[in-house]
């Protein structure tokens, strides 16, 4: 293990004194939002489409424990989203997914039927699992 990195991680872990909890954040560097429902879960990533990646539990791969939503700055309706964010103080994950679904649907006719069906199922699973999940708007105001 890289000793400098290990030291950095140990220090960062100590700074986060509270127990890990479900929640999400916006990564400016990646222009993407992350949300984890299960803070202790080990997972593997499955790319659903160009906007959405789901994290599935390694213990039970049917279970979605987290998501990554990409390309926040170019989401359809981004301006409207910004207004909502400023008013409500939070970003509803479902609003982000609505944007990604809208856009990726425009390419859906080019997809093989089985892939389109899988994508739809993944979106439905994410909507069910992450309903009511929000990210603090402070994370997004500089977007």
């Amino acid at each position: 293990m890289n000793p400098d990195l290990e030291k950095f991680l140990r220090e960062t872990e100590q700074e986060c004194s509270s127990a890990p909890s479900r929640g999400g954040w916006y990564s400016k560097a990646g222009d993407c939002a992350f949300f984890f429902n299960e803070p202790d879960a080990s997972y593997l990533a499955e790319r659903v489409d160009g906007r959405l990646t789901v994290y599935r539990s390694l213990e039970d791969r049917r279970r979605i424990v987290g998501v990554q939503v990409k390309g926040i700055r170019t989401l359809p309706g981004h301006d409207f989203l910004e207004v909502l964010v400023r008013q409500s103080g939070t970003v509803d994950l479902i609003m982000l997914l609505y944007g990604t679904w809208q856009e990726t649907q425009s390419d859906a006719s080019k997809e093989p039927a089985d892939r389109a069906a899988k994508r739809r199922t993944d979106y439905e699973d994410v909507l069910r699992e992450f309903s009511g999940s929000t990210i603090d708007a402070k994370e997004f105001v500089s977007v």
Binding site: M1, F8, S27, L44, R47, D49, R51, L58, T74
Partner: protein, 151 residues
């Protein structure tokens, strides 16, 4: 030595620097570069999935010893592609200071790096069934611009 530029403002503008990473612009040359990790991303990961934060040690390994580098990561809604995806098959993945798991069978480890040499995502993915050294869908133009280099 890697360095941490810890932020002293609420904007969390600091980075941790990983040294000795393969230069994705000329991987065949043996040149190494620094790749930065946003401190805020690590801090958020520690709060919401510490295993993700600790996986940085695996990401660091893959950035130093990749098996492949893809160029031009596709972003939906943008015509331009930029950045790189480093791919490796480490024997094990770090999930905590003393917690490791074997890389699951049929999987690869990927690290996404922006054109500004900032790593923003690192994770286990399924390998491609037709090309087990690459991540699922690696040959699709939906995903990457091109395979830049392989070991």
């Amino acid at each position: 030595m890697g360095e941490t530029d810890r932020p002293n403002t609420t904007q969390n503008l600091g980075f941790h620097t990983l040294e000795g990473c393969v230069d994705p612009r000329e991987p065949e040359s043996g040149t190494t570069i620094e790749i930065r990790i946003p401190y805020s991303d690590v801090q958020h990961s520690m709060k919401h999935n510490p295993g993700r934060a600790w996986q940085l040690t695996t990401a660091d390994h893959v950035l130093r010893e990749p098996e492949r580098i893809y160029e031009g990561v596709r972003r939906e809604g943008e015509d331009d592609r930029d950045g790189w995806c480093y791919v490796g098959r480490p024997k094990r993945v770090c999930l905590g200071s003393d917690r490791w798991i074997p890389l699951p069978k049929g999987c690869v480890y990927v690290v996404f790096v922006s054109s500004r040499f900032i790593a923003y995502e690192w994770r286990i993915e399924h390998a491609d069934p037709d090309d087990p050294e690459g991540p699922a869908g690696c040959e699709s133009s939906d995903r990457y611009g091109r395979l830049k280099w392989e070991k």
